[in-house]
């Protein structure tokens, strides 16, 4: 009988795992597509920096279940399903990506930036050839933190019908079935560990360059 349960879990689990990965991947891609350019702009202007970090910071403080809840009744951007979950995940992932992009660029040695300008690099060249490469390990560290968090937070997406490994966890809680809870929690935890190690290794390789 136990093997029957396992069989079912395995079959359904594959599908949920893929859903989960898609949620995380799409959210992270959007968070990076917004966070990195915004971070670049914020590094260049103190005013943009204050606003951007404040907004991203506020997003971060909303409890995750509440944020999913808030988004459901909002027309167009909200509602039941994947897109609402992704929106919420982006809100959480944005701050680490944004903040580390800003920190990384502002952390570039003043003498190095100065000589880049003095040698006649255009602002765009300074950014592309000096600031971004030197900030890359820090930016990647932000992406890593955000990815690990998103993998965990994405389990809550099941609560608003977005699927993913959270489906097992919520079903397990509802039916007081520890096995189901673990079937969701363990793969999610493993996924987080793998992402952490993989991105960590990449980060290390970039910083020795």
């Amino acid at each position: 009988m136990l093997s029957d349960v396992l069989q079912d879990l395995l079959e359904e689990g594959g599908e949920l795992l893929v859903q989960h990965l898609v949620l995380v991947f799409v959210s992270m891609a959007i968070a990076c597509a917004i966070g990195i350019p915004l971070g670049i702009a914020a590094a260049a202007s103190p005013r943009t920096r204050r606003f951007a970090l404040a907004f991203a910071g506020i997003g971060q403080t909303i409890p995750s279940l509440a944020l999913f809840g808030f988004l459901i009744p909002i027309p167009f951007i909200g509602g039941i399903g994947e897109h609402t979950a992704i929106l919420a995940l982006v809100v959480y992932a944005l701050l680490p990506v944004l903040r580390n992009t800003v920190t990384g660029i502002l952390g570039v040695d003043a003498g190095v930036r100065d000589s880049a300008i003095a040698m006649g690099m255009t602002p765009r060249q300074v950014l592309r050839m000096v600031e971004l490469p030197l900030a890359a390990p820090t930016i990647l560290a932000g992406i890593r933190i955000a990815t690990v968090t998103t993998i965990g937070t994405a389990t809550i997406a099941a609560a608003i019908g977005a699927g993913g490994l959270g489906v097992f966890i919520f079903r397990g809680i509802a039916s007081i079935d520890k096995l189901q809870i673990l079937a969701g929690a363990i793969p999610a935890a493993l996924l987080a560990l793998i992402a952490d190690a993989g991105l960590g290794a990449l980060e290390k390789r970039w910083s020795v360059r």
Binding site: G111, I117, M119, G120, M121
Partner: protein
């Protein structure tokens, strides 16, 4: 026509006057040393020359044209710039650091490579051995040599130095000063050299411009400087006296 000309140049930040009514010119091929205490405005004056800063009043001419009328990027590429700790790009190899301005200027790759090899040999770093190293794999003195090679790369008419040898031990510093004199005699570049070390100023300068709290306190040859009765010059000359060295 002087290569660089300060005409009543003033510079202020946030209502604070940092440079005040500075006028002097630098002739082609000469080495003008900007001497002054910490905070006297030497770096500020230097950065006005390559348009990293623009004068608040007066006018600064390079090659006969005000810096405000130059294309800034083009102007900077025609002026070599060396700072303390060299400001090398830590993620570039020595070769890529040295070849940077030629690459920005889209020289063909072989020409860049040949130029890099030539310059590294010229500053005493055999390119075989050093071209592929990263800056952190060099000593402070070697980094400074790379900094000089990088500044020379696109054959600029003007070189700016901001305390380039400030962080080096006295013996290495002397080596590099001698190297500087040798290169100067070979290449005949117009140089402006910032230092607070009066010995270095006396060794390297064809003329010394002494800055005191943002004003030009003295302008003349090292021999004239030695005889000057300007009070700020006298303070610097005290350092040169044997008993002055003790305190």
């Amino acid at each position: 026509m002087p290569e660089i000309e300060f005409r009543n140049v003033g510079y202020a930040v946030g209502g604070r006057q940092i440079l005040c009514d500075i006028s002097f010119s630098v002739e082609a091929g000469e080495t003008l040393v900007l001497l002054g205490r910490s905070g006297s405005g030497k770096t500020t004056a230097l950065r006005l020359i390559n348009a990293m800063l623009l004068p608040a009043s007066g006018e600064l001419r390079v090659a006969g044209r005000p810096t405000t009328a130059h294309d800034r990027v083009a102007l900077r590429r025609s002026i070599g710039y060396v700072i303390q700790d060299a400001g090398l790009f830590p993620h570039f190899t020595v070769a890529r650091n040295v070849g940077l301005v030629p690459s920005l200027e889209n020289w063909p790759r072989e020409k860049v490579n040949a130029r890099v090899a030539e310059l590294l040999d010229r500053v005493g770093l055999p390119s075989q051995e050093f071209a592929n190293r990263k800056p952190r794999e060099l000593s402070g003195g070697q980094r400074q040599r790379v900094g000089v090679a990088r500044a020379l790369a696109a054959d600029p008419r003007i070189l700016l130095f901001d305390e380039p040898f400030g962080a080096l031990d006295p013996v290495t510093r002397l080596d590099l000063q001698n190297e500087f004199l040798r290169l100067r005699d070979e290449l005949r570049k117009t140089s402006v050299f910032v230092t607070h070390d009066v010995r270095e100023a006396m060794r390297l300068a064809t003329r010394i411009a002494l800055l005191d709290q943002g004003r030009l306190a003295f302008l003349g040859t090292p021999a004239e400087f030695r005889r000057s009765d300007n009070p700020e010059a006298a303070r610097f000359l005290e350092v040169l006296r044997p008993d002055g060295a003790a305190c």
